[in-house]
């Protein structure tokens, strides 16, 4: 049986299909202005790769910011529970998750069953999120996927005392004009964001094992900084960005099975 999870995030739209407890296919695209169309695009891409139609998918669940706008999903689940479920599937030993998304960061504690026991979300502010890194990449004229590597080339951290998107952007521009190397600017910004994440994590219980999920977990520079602040080596999934969608597909399987068990035998 196949189960589908769709994660409509604020910046990225992700999908996963699982079969026999394996990832059958996955897809990552941009979240467009219309969540319904975006979710259909994710679904159609995955079905095309599988060479199947929707009738082969037993049960579908949605998560993420646009979770209520996925018309073909039977249910939805919060991205906090979905990330916990996905991370637990990869690493049953994980107890602490940092989810770094497009528009917010979340620190999550998870138990040995993959259930959330505590969580905290940052407040409504773009500082230190994926959107913020996109903004800085464009100011520095770099591709988003390159900024992490560039930050690692820094010889001297330029200290930023703010991750406010507005102030940090203007500070980055003035540093560029003064000739500060891009790598130093980026190292400083990554450092400031890592401090912010560390403070978020301190509000839950920081316990081993620790993982980072979400799109920003693909940024090696960021992972290195967080590791340094926390003094803890994160275990990382092959693609941490699909963790929410994976979790949703696992929830789809779980809920479907529960419904089957609850239904009277015919």
């Amino acid at each position: 049986m196949l189960f589908m999870g769709i994660d409509i995030g604020s910046r990225g739209a992700k999908g996963v299909v699982i079969e026999d407890n394996q990832i059958a296919t996955a897809f990552i695209g941009d979240t467009g202005p219309e969540s319904v169309k975006t979710s259909e695009m994710v679904r159609d891409n995955m079905l095309a790769k599988l060479g199947m139609d929707m009738s082969k998918i037993t049960y579908t669940m949605a998560t993420g910011y646009g979770r209520v706008l996925v018309p073909f999903a039977a249910e939805n689940v919060s991205e906090i529970s979905a990330h916990a479920k996905g991370a637990h599937w990869y690493f049953p030993s994980v107890r602490t998750i940092l989810d770094m998304g497009g528009q917010d960061c979340k620190a999550i504690n998870v138990n040995d069953k993959g259930q959330v026991t505590k969580f905290i979300m940052n407040d409504k502010c773009a500082g230190g999120t994926g959107r913020f890194l996109e903004l800085i990449a464009s100011v520095l004229g770099l591709r988003l996927e390159d900024i992490g590597q560039t930050s690692l080339e820094s010889k001297k951290n330029f200290p930023f005392n703010t991750v406010c998107a507005v102030f940090a952007k203007s500070e980055a521009i003035s540093l560029m004009k003064k000739g500060t190397p891009k790598s130093d600017i980026l190292a400083g910004l990554h450092d400031a964001i890592a401090v912010r994440c560390y403070n978020l994590l301190k509000r839950v219980n920081i316990e081993k094992d620790f993982t980072i999920t979400g799109g920003i977990a693909k940024n090696q520079g960021m992972v290195a900084k967080i590791k340094e602040k926390l003094g803890m080596e994160p275990v990382l999934a092959p693609d941490p960005q699909i963790m929410g969608a994976l979790g949703a597909s696992l929830f789809a399987r779980e809920r479907y099975m529960a419904k089957q068990n609850a239904a009277p035998a015919s």
Binding site: V77, S78, I80, V116, F119, M121, K124
Partner: protein
């Protein structure tokens, strides 16, 4: 859930006219005076005993643009106080004849300062000093403050506030408290007859109409609820605690995610009605009133904080609460600072806490929905019922 009780529909009609509700309009048309209060440490009975209608000043039940208020109050004044000022600057409180505030937190003081300095177009603006302790010396100070407030009311409105009038006011207001308690008792059931959002609507109306008329509505409502089969279900039972909250939609947003709010620790809820005025012990009704207001279910601004925590914990047991939502308006210093200590005590009892840091007036933003949903999912996992 069956039909809306008729009395609740009437309560909604009153609230719909906020801030200048129909009952207030009628009162004014009869030549009556209206005095606003903001903080629950202002004794309403004394105002009512002067033949004046006390109404509670609040912001609106949605987030306001606070541009004008920001010109007078620093933006690190909480958005509750700024929303009150914004509505005043928008001339929505022009029907007031007086304003009595309490120096209970800095936001409250500053709002009163701005009133006194810039909007002082009414006969009375008075700020009560309220001690933070409940020692005998503190009580004596507060009694003398309430006496002064009484004098100021008498001078400004050329009335005499008699002991008899105060005794009658005590009876009237205690009757409200007894009825609200009865309403909350019904919320202890497995399937309460009202939602948390509806309970807030009901208490909101208390601030917006003459007390005798409100009591009649409450009597009607209680009678209807006793006879009805109305049942509200929720997967988890929550308590909501924190800063001033008037917006029923905020609670409805949380309840739509599958929970039921069964009680609260809010000054628009239990902290408004919980304690009654002792009608027997004191000869002087003003002293009886004053002692009740200082001893009442405390705000986070009072010390020692354990008094409030003990009461919250007792309430979680009485109402079988499974999780607490801490609703904290940004820059609400008393609540923000007490919350970690309260959370620690609740977590020790196995009650999880969801902390929501927000602005006054908000309701169903995406981030609030996500947090509420995740919190409920977490509580259901804990019960083994996901």
């Amino acid at each position: 859930m069956t039909d809306t009780p008729k009395a609740l529909e009437k309560i909604r009609e009153v609230n719909a006219g906020f801030p200048y509700t129909d009952p207030i309009k009628k009162w004014k048309e009869r030549g009556g005076k209206v005095v606003a209060w903001t903080c629950t440490y202002v004794p309403e009975e004394v105002i009512w005993a002067a033949g004046i209608l006390p109404v509670r000043m609040t912001g609106d039940s949605h987030e306001l643009e606070l541009e004008d208020a920001n010109a007078y109050l620093y933006i690190n004044t909480c958005s509750f106080q700024r929303a009150c000022l914004q509505m005043t600057l928008d001339k929505q409180y022009d029907f007031l004849d007086g304003y009595v505030s309490a120096a209970t937190c800095d936001g409250s003081r500053r709002l009163a300062d701005v009133w006194r300095n810039y909007i002082d177009n009414i006969p009375l603006v008075y700020v009560l000093t309220v001690p933070r302790k409940t020692t005998e010396r503190a009580h004596q100070l507060y009694i003398s403050e309430v006496k002064e407030m009484k004098q100021k009311l008498e001078e400004a409105f050329k009335v005499k506030i008699t002991d008899d009038a105060m005794r009658q006011a005590i009876k009237l207001y205690n009757h409200t408290r007894a009825m609200l308690k009865e309403l909350y008792e019904m919320r202890k059931k497995d399937k309460p007859p009202i939602t948390g959002a509806e309970a807030l609507e009901i208490v909101n109306a208390a601030f917006r109409m003459p007390r005798d008329e409100y009591n009649k509505l409450l009597e009607e409502l209680l009678a209807e609820l006793k006879d009805s089969k109305r049942e509200v279900t929720g997967k988890v039972r929550l308590l909501i605690s924190g800063s001033p909250l008037n917006n029923p939609d905020f609670i409805a947003t949380i309840e739509r995610e599958g929970a039921i709010v069964v009680t609260d620790e809010l000054c628009m809820g239990t902290r408004y009605w919980w304690d009654t005025v002792d009608e027997k012990t004191y000869k002087d009704p003003l002293e009886a009133i004053s002692r009740r207001y200082l001893n009442n279910f405390p705000c986070a601004r009072m010390v020692p904080c354990d008094e409030r925590f003990d009461r919250v914990l007792a309430m979680t047991r009485e109402y079988r609460v499974e999780g607490m939502v801490a609703e904290i308006i940004r820059y609400c210093v008393p609540y923000a600072h007490d919350e970690p200590m309260l959370r620690e005590r609740l977590e020790r009892e196995g009650i999880s806490v969801l902390e929501l840091d927000l602005e006054y007036g908000v309701s169903g933003s995406g981030q609030i929905r996500t947090r509420a949903q995740a919190f409920i999912e977490m509580l259901l996992d804990k019960k083994g019922q996901s």
